[in-house]
Symmetry: C2
Subunit: 323 residues, 2 copies
């Protein structure tokens, strides 16, 4: 057996140099020291990074709000990146898109009017459009360049902007919601990026107050709510806000998305006062009834209910904020 | 709006150089081009890599079977690595250890004799030992150096080797199982590494035949069964083998482990003929009844049942092999 050897890989005084070298060597995640790889570093997941091999860079540009990048990866299909953070890959976007749409829409009977914030690629529109009861889909994307670029590089998804039920509004979703009459929507879906950058206000109390006002009694919201492994402090805050604001139920669900930090992402599902909503037991099964639609890859009724079951460490914290 | 620009990050003829540069620059995952970071590359997850910041290297050595490394990471506690692949981190090992132990042991009444393959760190022993009905725990670890090193660097976990019910056998678990009388064990738990290297035969048919023989009627096995996002071909094979060999039930479950490739890991749970086992509805609730034990962090009855609910893409393949 070899001797156990102890040595310090970080020599004294070296840490700052390493940090600087790492930041200098990366421009929006594209590494100059590891050519051909994209690496995802962020203060939201310090000390770790996920990397994907880049086959071909398809687009890089600076919008008014953020850096936008799309590349063809070696094993995850096309990858869509905002400010150096992966938003979607063709391999695993099915989980996120299907769950963020069907968790709320399968939980209420006959959803008709749906408001979507973010989701500029169009995949989320496809999922909402699966519901034949839906008559109106308003989507608010703050960054017009995201929509334009996605139309170019994800044409199959962006084709859903042409669904006659869909109206695109380029602008701030929170401001838009504030301006609509009370009780306008049956469901609001918030497909936001992380609370660093243009999506920060979508995690704050005034935003949830606008959502509650824009929903009809017994209406539902589903919002991206980070990961139980890394961001319990963010989750605690939004659960606390929503418990005060939404008079119906407030539930946390989660799903697997391999290319998101920690490999999972959560959703907060809330309902306004009025007809009670039992998110864990969906009342509105989804049907593949539109010939334009590809089959569901991820969502089913069993996984809907299972997504509300939490590990003990997360359940303890979330339950304490929910009551 | 910026113009969309198309350019190929990989220049002609460069790919092989990049591959060579990547392999040369990494020795068991420790990067010489990105100093202070561990990166996990493997042909089992081509085109992607997860990296952790190393605070202090604690141990590196070559055993008869594999390279063993333990380091203190910046944000995941101590990390245990075999042949450049993360086996456990202090941040997320709770999910894997608790699920691989309690999914089988909570599914049968009064487990008494348990056989464990692998799991050299000792955390799995702690979970098995939580069950007060258990009288005998035989553990077979092929690599004695793993046990010695873990006793040094994970003393709290390795303390469970001293539980009077535990007997350690250093050697091949498959050979050991072949030699025990038929119907010896109530449960077998196979905490194997990936099927590249010393664990390869633990994914093959003769091994599962040995397991079935060593189990009593109505006994159960739980084996590490890779990830639905990357390894459906491996999962299909082991489900097929087990469906032929185990006359009771064969079920696939999964859980989140952020530092494993794709962020999830699966388990195959099988029972021998005899008293029927309904893995989805545990009959043997776990109690924190040993004062030496830390509380359960992850496992609970709800998450036990939920872990058997699969995304549609995986359910379709696994169900087709299960019937």
């Amino acid at each position: 057996m070899a001797d156990a050897s102890n040595f310090d890989i970080k020599r004294p005084g070296e840490e700052d140099e390493v940090h600087q070298a790492t930041s200098k060597a990366l421009v929006n995640g594209i590494s100059s020291v590891n050519p051909g790889w994209f690496s995802e570093f962020s203060p939201m997941w310090p000390g770790e990074a996920h990397s994907l091999k880049v086959e071909k860079m398809l687009f890089q540009g600076e919008s008014e709000y953020q850096n936008i990048m799309i590349f063809q990866s070696a094993t995850c299909g096309k990858v869509f990146v905002l400010d150096g953070v992966i938003q979607a890959t063709e391999r695993d976007a099915c989980s996120y898109q299907e769950m963020i749409a069907h968790l709320p829409l399968c939980s209420i009977p006959n959803p008709k009017k749906v408001f979507v914030i973010g989701g500029g690629r169009g995949g989320l529109l496809r999922e909402v459009a699966r519901h034949s009861s839906v008559e109106q889909i308003d989507i608010c994307e703050i960054d017009g360049m995201v929509v334009e670029v996605c139309k170019q590089f994800f044409p199959d998804l962006a084709a859903w902007y042409d669904d006659p039920r869909v109206t695109l509004h380029v602008g701030d979703g929170a401001a838009f919601l504030n301006a609509v009459p009370e009780c306008t929507y049956d469901a609001v879906i918030v497909d936001s990026s992380d609370p660093l950058g243009p999506a920060q206000h979508l995690f704050e109390k005034p935003f949830f107050e606008s959502v509650a006002k824009a929903l009809r009694p017994g209406g539902v919201v589903c919002t991206q709510a980070e990961t139980i492994w890394l961001h319990m402090h963010i989750i605690e805050d939004i659960v606390s806000h929503c418990r005060q604001i939404f008079k119906g139920s407030v539930n946390y669900a989660w799903t697997t998305v391999p290319t998101y930090p920690s490999g999972v992402i959560g959703f907060l599902l809330c309902s306004t006062g009025g007809q009670a909503v039992d998110f864990r037991n969906p009342v509105n099964p989804i049907e593949d009834n539109d010939s334009k639609n590809v089959p569901l890859k991820f969502y089913n009724k069993e996984i809907h209910s299972a997504s509300f079951c939490l590990p003990s460490f997360a359940k303890k914290v979330i339950d304490s904020k929910s009551k």
